[in-house]
Structure formats: C-alpha cells, structure tokens
C-alpha cells in the first residue's frame, strides 16, 4: 500500500477489504468474522492474514466446512446482539446456505414483526476470468436479488469497497457483499483515509457520454470503460455507469442517462436469462420507453450452467473488451 497523500492510500481490492475489516474489528467489540480458513490461513486470498494474532480466535472464527451453519450461526449471533461478518469462501459454495440467507436472514425482521433483527454481512468472492472452472467462477447475484429482505452490493473499485463495506457493517439488515475475485489484485486505486461510508442504491457515472448508456458492475465495468475510451478515438461518446449496488438499485442515475443518450446497453457476466439486466430493461421500458431510439440490448453470460476450466470454454463464456466495443459501436450506429 503506497501512501500518495496525507488523505488517501493506493490499495487494491483485497487490501481495501482487509483494511475495512481490520477497522471494524478494532472499533467494535461486537464484530466477529466467521468462515472457513479465516484464522491461521488468513483467508484463501489473505484478506484476514494476521487478524487472529491481533484479535484472537474468538473473534476470527475458523469454522468446520459447513456453509449452511456459517450463515446460520452468524444469524443467531446477530439476533443475540453481535455484529458478525460471515464469509463464504467462494460464491459457488453459497448454495448450501441458500435457505439460511433467503428463508431465515431475509425474513427475521419481517416474520417477527420487527422484534428480532439480523444485522449481518455475508462476504463472498464471485466471478470468472481466473480459470476457476465450474465451481470457482459463478456469479450469484441474480439468485438473491429476487429476495426482499436482502441488500446486495458489488463494488468494483477499492474506494467503493471500503465505503460500501462500512455501510454494510453498519446496516441493521442482512447484506450480501459480492467481491469480484479477478479484480482483487488487478484493480488498484486511491482510497480515502479514515472512516467513511457510501450509501446503498447510488450508482456512479464512471465516464460521461452522449450517444449510449452502458450499465454494468463488477469486473466488466472496468472493461466497459476501457472499451468506451477506445471508441472515443473514433468519435463515439459512450456513458458508463457502475451500479455498485444491486438491491437497492439506483433508478435516477440510469433514467437520467438514458433520457440523455436515448440508448441502453447492459453488460454483465452473470447469465442473461433472468439476470439483473432483465430487471433494468423492464424498469426502463416501464419508465422511459418513449425516450429510446433503439431496442435495449444486453451483453451477458450465455445460458449454460457455468464457464468451463479449459481456456477456450472460459473465454467463450466471458465477454471481452473488444466484444463490448463492438456492441457499443453497433448500438451507437443503430
């Protein structure tokens, strides 16, 4: 971590998660981290490295390999006054805890009519491009964004990781915090020093443009900016929005942009059918159909169970910056 000024530090996404978790443990005795290999191993990406030495095994809790109860035990801790941060080692392993997240955490406040609450953060690395094969590459956001009672964020930049993770930790309700694992060490950026929060439900316009709105999040938002910048040399003006927050989602930023550019392209790594892009498309069709000069388009993962281990299978699943640029060009010229 390089300090570039008194006010900020350059970090990658791993370092941003780590620094934020460290402060949470330091500042609130109620905070505990619970997950597989978070203790002596310091998490498989070294996010919690050395935490156990400083905070103790009772606060950085290595669990048996049992994802349902990692989340379930964290729910019980939250109901009884702690502020747990649970970790699912890879998003692909979240399925055994599906009921605990959807059936229990998301409904604790609702089913007790507010008598019990569940202030819980579930962090998990997701996404492909790392040769992770079928079970270390998936995107899980669409499985959960259908569920009232949950909040879901997927930051792409280190500064957003810190601000949104602080908001998640302070939040009185369960938050699913998705970290794209390919961005962990790939993406570096300045992170303001000191404590700050970024509200959920606020997207970020990364690049302004006038001819096309691109909405994305996660790894792809970086590639979308790269593609949009390349098109700028050809005189094409593309606006790129980083959603950051998936539930709640920022309607105003999307609509303002679409009403300006009159065209919408949604890019995400998760499958197209029933994905986040479907909800955004429906919202824009409901609220801004007559502002559109072209059909909405989605550039998303194909309708296959997962990306394969072999490089051609992974590359075929994922969209490249070049494919993104092609889609943008076609949309602008429509």
């Amino acid at each position: 971590m390089a300090v570039v000024s008194a006010d900020s530090t350059v970090m990658n996404n791993v370092e941003a998660v780590r620094a934020t978790l460290y402060e949470a443990l330091k500042n609130d005795d109620r905070t505990v981290i619970i997950g597989e290999d978070v203790g002596a191993r310091g998490n498989v990406f070294l996010i919690t490295k050395d935490f156990v030495a400083e905070f103790g095994e009772h606060r950085v809790i290595d669990t048996p390999i049992a994802e349902a109860s990692i989340v379930g035990i964290a729910i019980g801790m939250a109901m009884e006054g702690l502020r747990p941060i649970a970790e699912i080692q890879f998003a692909d392993f979240i399925y055994p805890s599906f009921n605990q997240i959807v059936g229990e955490a998301a409904k604790t406040r609702y089913r007790s009519n507010g008598e019990y609450t569940c202030p819980l953060v579930i962090r998990t690395p997701y996404g492909g491009g790392v040769r992770g094969a079928l079970s270390h590459s998936v995107s899980v956001e669409a499985l959960f964004y259908h569920v009232p009672g949950l909040k879901i964020v997927a930051p792409s930049f280190p500064a957003d990781v810190k601000g949104l993770l602080n908001t998640a930790i302070d939040d009185p309700d369960p938050v699913l915090f998705l970290e794209h694992k390919k961005t962990y060490r790939l993406i570096k950026g300045e992170v303001p020093n000191g404590h700050y929060t970024i509200p959920f439900g606020k997207a970020n316009v990364l690049k302004e443009g006038t001819q096309l709105t691109v909405v994305s999040y996660g790894l792809y938002v970086h590639w979308a900016v790269e593609a949009a910048r390349a098109l700028q040399d050809d005189g094409l003006s593309v606006e790129v929005i980083d959603l950051r927050s998936i539930r709640p989602m920022d309607k105003t930023t999307i609509l303002n942009s679409v009403e300006k550019t009159r065209k919408l392209l949604i890019i995400h790594e998760d499958n197209k059918f029933g994905g986040i892009g479907a909800e955004i498309s429906a919202m824009v069709a409901e609220e801004a159909l007559f502002h559109l000069d072209a059909p909405i388009r989605r550039l998303c993962g194909p309708d296959v169970p997962a990306m394969g281990y072999a490089l051609p299978l992974e590359e075929e699943f994922m969209s490249s910056p070049a494919e993104m640029a092609d889609a943008m060009r076609e949309m602008v010229k429509f």
Partner: protein, 342 residues
Amino acid sequence: MASTDIATGTLERHGLSDDQLRAIFRNMLLQRQLDNRGFQLNRQGKVPFALGSEGHEALQAGAAMAFNRGLDVLAPYYRDLGLCLGIGLSPYEILLSIFARASDHNGGRQFPNHYSSKAAGLMSFSSILAAHLPHAVGAAYAIKYRGETGRAVLATCGDGTTSEGEWHESMNFASIHKLPFVMLVENNEWAISTPLAKQMAEPQIWKRAAGYGMPGRRFNGFDPIETYAAVKEAMDRARSGGGPTLVEGTCYRYLAHSTDDNDMTYRTREMVAERRKQDPVPAFEAVLIEHGIVTAGDVAAMRKSVLDETNEATDTAEMQPYPQPSDLYTNIYEGAWQPWQS
C-alpha cells in the same frame, strides 16, 4: 411414571417444591385445553389451521421448569406450546397467534405455534426444520463471547429434525466451542407420516452425543419430574461453562400432525389407543394425588380455572383486529424501502 422410593414410599422429586409440581401439572392441563381449542376453532371454521402438541405435555412442562426466565434463551420448534407457556407466554398470546391478530408478537404473519418474544427470550423461527438450530448455537456463542455465565440456550426439535444437515452442523459447532447449549429432542416417533424406522437405523438419538464428544442422555418424556431432572442437569452444566448436552425425551404424538393431516392414512386407531394408555396428563395427576400434593378437589378447581382462562383468552383475542392490509409492507428492513431508489 414418576419414581417412588420403594423403601420410604416418598416421591423422587429432584428438588421440585409442591408449588412447582402443581405449576407443572397446571401447565400440562393448560396445554391440552389450548391444543383442543385450536382444533375446535378450526373445526368451527374460525381459523384455517392449528397444530397440536398433545402427548408432549409432561416433557414440555418439565423442561420449562428448568428454564431460568430473564436469563436463558429458548429456540423452540412448532410443537412447543407447553415450553412457551412454561417460560412465560400467556394463553392470550397463544390465542392471538391462533387468530393471527395484529397484536400477536408476529403481527399475524406467522402460522400458529411459531411464537416469538424477545422479552421472554424466545427466538423467532420459521417452519423450516433445523434452520433454527444454527441460530441457537450462534446465540450461545454470543453468550459465551460476552462472558455471561449463568445463561444458556435451550434448543428443541422433534425426531424428524435430527435427519437434517443443520442438526449435525449445530451439534458439531456447539461441541467444538463448548457452548452453553442444550439440544432437547422430543422424540414422538413420527415425522408427519414417516415412522422412526424410516428416519434412522439407530432409533436411540441420544447415542449420537458420543460422536460429538458431548454428554448424552435419554429420559422418559411422559414423566415431567424425570424430564426436569435431565434438562436441569444439562442446563446447569451449560450455564457453568461445562459445554453442550444432547438430551432425548421419549413421548408420542397423539394427534395428527396438524388440522390438515389425516393420520389414519399411515397409522391405526389401535396404535394410538395403545399409547394413550400412557397419557402423561392423567398419569401425573394420579402421582400428585397419591403423594398428597393435590386433592381430587384441587384438580377439579385447576381444570375449571384452565378452562375459564382459555375461554376468556379466546373471547378477548377473537375481538382483536386483524392486521391492516398496509401492514404487509412494514418491517421488511429498518425504515421505508423500495428496491428501486431515486
């Protein structure tokens, strides 16, 4: 039934006073009355659904007497009417749940028998079996983490729930961390229609304790005093840092699973009648009379007071308003909420 010392003819009461023994018996009478009331209201067309705990009365009244109000936490399941009464819920609160009224703890959202009360230390739970057990273990972790000795979590389930993966995960984690946690299994031999033999090859559930490295014990759940002794021993061990215990009480489910179940499709009247001979309510009444703890007149007065209390609770609860349609939209998150934010 409750053991009598053959030499002295005295009742082995495990420290329970006459008042406590009478309170246990009254709880058992109240359970049966309220159970029947739920089924009656359903047959009258006043409520869509009811669940019974009949056959579990002694087990639950005895276990509840081992619960320290204001300190311990209860993580029950949906067949725990007597436990919830025994830790402080009133018949009126039970009837509010049956009628799904706005002033019910859950605001009329949950099925009957899915009680919760933060004030009583009664954790909210769903209908998904074993999902509450990691919550109970997490609560026990929080108690130990804060160094709160003298508190423990009593979690319960039926025999059916012991087949769930989260039952195992919870037992395992509780034992690794020596948590103040007691797993009370109410073995009534039925998982709706599925008998024990189709649920598990080894029907003595308490034996699994050895596999988790914790003490285990089986007791006669038709005997409230034996139940109290077993659960109290386990809770005392948990409260004093001795770690978790698995206790298994044997009982029987006399009624169908719920008002929507017809148990004659999978068992016979004769099978149930045979087990009715062990009915814990008249059996415990006989013990208390034999040992001079109550008279037949006392029992008649208790039955009348339980009926009066149930009738009054029924009438008062029925008059309470339903939740408003607008209540559908509250308490999803803290504060107002829209998935699309502007």
